[in-house]
Symmetry: C2
Subunit: 566 residues, 2 copies
């Protein structure tokens, strides 16, 4: 067996190591265009910011170590130029010497990765305009930073963009983020990113949402980024973080099938349309585990597992890739944001039925010092109660809840199962009713019909004048002090503990939308109202959830906003 | 519906609140012997240590708040003396006035909790000898501490015992722990507690394992604790943490069934042998979710859920309790120890087949600063690959992995599923191959036969002279430096990267037991050896696992230890 692997970072390196463990006899050749194999892509921003101080730490495995330990033929700075599938050989170019040669294969694994997108804008290739994908990109940016940068512009507020922003600020660089969408962290639902945007502002980052760069121009002082809005941003450093595109040229040229967004098509064994050619990692199109749709998710974890599966199948094993959930996490200064499974916007785009709940717990028991707040959103299949997706933003413990929910989604668990989840509780770690249980109680109550909810969007819609339809009566059951400190327009305050004795003040001819701070008192109020004969619904996640929308759009409940709050 | 609830802490308070949400009409009476309802039991040690500085924070809900918000009849300092099941009434005693009266019920929920055990030893009721179960216990201990304690003895190294120890040390009290078993934290397997014992010693705690108190005597300076071993420990404070026993007197007197260890027997709706009487919380016998055995697990989470389920069933809902997994976590100074599901010793006691794996990962990517080590042990069903139990000890991220595994156990997931778990990875939170994946890869390899393992115990057994049986050749594939710094007796060192070229040095007539530091290099070495014709096995978890045993027993591989290493 002669196995040739193209690309030596996450997926390629995993495939090579797995292949050797499965066969001592196989000839395994790993061809990598760059100088490094298996470097820590996700660590690059932290070397720039100085948290990781030694460059070598990012080199997970050196080519020498891979050669020695796994008895691989590792050739770095080596480009594969073409695949001849009939003859089962690749044309290879040694980038140092320029020498070209051919290499036959029995099986070929493509792990070429993805390339950062450079939109075709004037000045996009000016010195000082960078992307950040590999060690060389990092070195170039570091050099500029070390020479002294006062102002930087990061184009794109995705995961890598915001990680970079944090590290630029850490170095004292005045940083502006320009993002085309009207939210940061596009995989998240917009309202869940409100705390992140607020936090960036609190850290002195200038955030320009819904804006895009039009051109980059050299200036006396470095560069000027010209936005479509007319803004002109001076900078000595510009980094583009607007996404990646699969490196599919080799595959396309060889006639292998690719998907509509350019990802190489593979089956569950990671075989391309040619059974002797596998593809793994950021270059492939994968199945979304929750929705079943074809998608592209450039993540290190899936890439590693795909490499392992491809190697397994090469050596006759029936390993299968189950699809990608899109589980991801990012730290943005002191906040953590994480998600898994389908987002609300994806479900809406696909027209899938769903229900959603929000809770705003602390990550551990409130009586123990240091409990940090988080917001957790669950998306649920209304029929079965299966968890479809989850998002969380907050402090400590966010990653834990999303990991638990990631496994629950994988197992096809329902919120009814998760009401009964038995999680570890001591005051430093959780609560007797963990946020996972609490979110599931809320969702379970919703699906069982015990706990009718209204969303901020539905409430905003209901506020829009429709002839013959009476708007719901908006009841705030928080204390008078909480109400005075801020409430939803037109709400009437009757504190929960007075509700039973003041039911007479409520209109009998209107449905009641009740809310409290996070939903818990609202739930009890709802139960009281329902059992006293009212049609009522609780605002999901309470005033805190309303604020997630309202801070994005001051007029969330105004007539001008009708049908627009999403 | 008139519902009477006996006991107002975790299970009772949950039942009461749930009952009111289900019915505005029901008459709900909550009778609590103590002065508080729903206090934060798990926070008591931290108030003693000063981390929680306000006593009121421990009162999760006051009786007044419960009355007001849930419209309950809450009577504290009220003891239920007897149940008349025929007449469906309880005899109640107001502890303040001494008045006795009767209260009829339609349904009765018993949530009496458990009482700390006071072994019948001389001096056990001396002033200065305490248990720690409720706010009053805490107040009494606090008073003694505030008067000044130089030396304390904690009897029992369970969860509460060690939490208390940490807080005594925090206050500068010289603390000795006396534990009957030969390990701390008895729910854990002994080798997993080695790091905890080491850590306690490093913090200056005197740990006396396998010892027990024989008597407590008053002395000039306070107390003397006399041990069976003859040791005499001076102390101004003694706290007993030797377990709890279910408060079952009321149930037993009323003729309700109890289990062999005294827990009130209930069905999955939490009904006792009398369908109108429910019981929840620490007083009941529950089903072990993994083994199916009857057990008693005094934990707040299960108590809360049981209270909810009982209330549901009272109001006609089909809620069922699925059993308890024993998921628990404890912080001991800078360490976290957590577990879920069955332990190895439980599986062995029940004669259940199992396999086990150990890994010693860091909680996040090693290239990012601050990665803390942990040891993770998985127990697996050898036939199906289902996870039966998990234990972890280490720094940050221990609770996360156990929570993920707790949900995986609930869902009946296998290690083959968990090889494909997609968990959140960014350098601060995890790794592209998370410890969950890594442990599952090891376990999967073991079950698939790719990765034969030998345990420390089996290796110790193999080291015991048996006529006609050749001992395995013990091969250490770490570097020469690692080998020199410490190795298993009789091991021969051939570093992994030299193994392929030095195969000629290995005996062909013996099986080979190979090991490295944590198991990873050993695995590759094993694959090389297997494919070169040897019968070989990898020491599960490598030298680090060996050390977990060896630090407990210096002669782990000596002939005198034969059959004893468990």
């Amino acid at each position: 067996m002669k196995l040739v692997i193209v690309g030596g970072v996450a997926g390629g390196a995993s495939a090579a190591a797995r292949a050797r463990r499965l066969s001592e006899e196989a000839e395994i050749i790993l061809l990598e265009r760059g100088p490094d194999v298996s470097f820590a892509n996700c660590g690059l921003p932290y070397y720039l910011g100085g948290e990781i101080s030694e460059r070598e730490r990012l080199l997970v495995v050196t080519p020498e170590r891979m050669k020695e330990r796994y008895r691989l033929e590792v050739r770095t700075r080596t480009n594969v130029e073409a695949i001849d599938r009939q003859a089962k050989r690749v044309r290879v170019r040694d980038l140092a010497s320029g020498r070209e040669y051919e290499e036959f294969y029995d099986k070929l694994i493509l792990a070429p990765g993805a390339t950062p997108i450079r939109p075709p804008l004037p000045g996009i290739y000016l010195p000082g305009v960078f992307t950040l994908r590999n060690m060389q990109d990092m070195d170039r940016i570091k050099e500029v930073l070390d020479r002294g940068v006062r102002q930087a512009v990061v184009v794109g507020a995705g995961f890598i963009g915001l990680e970079l922003v944090e590290n630029l600020v850490r170095r004292g660089v005045g940083t502006t983020v320009v993002e085309l969408q009207d939210q940061v962290l596009p995989p998240f639902d917009p309202e869940m990113t409100t705390p992140v945007a607020d936090h960036l502002a609190a850290k002195g980052v200038v955030l320009l949402l819904g804006q895009s760069a039009e051109a980059f121009e050299a200036s006396e002082d470095g560069l000027t980024v010209r936005l479509k809005s007319g803004h002109r941003l001076p900078a000595q450093l510009v980094v583009l973080g607007v996404g990646v595109r699969p490196e599919n040229k080799l595959a396309v040229d060889a006639g292998l099938e690719v998907g509509s967004r350019g990802g190489i098509r593979v089956n569950e064994h990671m075989q391309t349309s040619d059974a002797d050619v596998y593809a793994v990692g950021d270059a492939v199109e994968v199945k979304d585990f929750v929705t079943g749709e074809a998608t592209q998710v450039p993540l290190a974890g899936p890439a590693n597992r795909q490499g392992r599966i491809a190697a397994d199948h090469v050596f006759g094993r029936d390993s299968r890739y189950r699809g990608t959930q899109g589980t991801a996490v990012v730290r943005v200064f002191d906040l953590t944001a994480a998600l898994t499974g389908a987002s609300e916007k994806t479900l809406r785009r696909l027209g899938r039925p769903y229900r959603k709940v929000y809770i705003h717990p602390t990550h551990h028991a409130g009586y123990y010092p240091g409990a940090q707040p988080m917001t957790l959103k669950l998306l649920i299949d209304p029929g079965s109660g299966r968890v479809l997706g989850a998002q969380a933003v907050g402090g400590a413990g966010v990653d834990k809840r999303i990991d638990v929910l990631a496994v629950a989604i994988q197992a096809g668990m329902t919120v009814f199962d998760l009401e009964e989840a038995e999680l570890a509780y001591a005051p430093q770690y959780g609560a007797a009713k963990d946020p996972i249980n609490m979110a599931s109680f809320v969702a379970g109550g919703l699906l069982r019909g015990d706990h009718p909810q209204v969303s901020v969007e539905a409430l905003a819609d209901a506020n829009c004048p429709v002839e013959g339809v009476t708007r719901p009566f908006l009841l705030d059951v928080r204390t008078a002090e909480e109400f005075a400190a801020g409430h939803i327009p037109e709400a009437v305050n009757v504190p929960l503990d007075e509700l039973r004795s003041r039911l007479g003040e409520l209109p009998h001819d209107r449905t009641i939308a009740v809310y409290c701070q996070v939903g818990q008192r609202g739930y009890l109020a709802l139960r009281i109202l329902q059992q006293s004969g009212w049609q009522a619904a609780n605002l999901g996640g309470g005033f805190k959830t309303y604020r997630l929308y309202a801070e994005r759009d001051a007029g969330v409940f105004s007539a001008g906003n009708c049908g627009r709050v999403r």
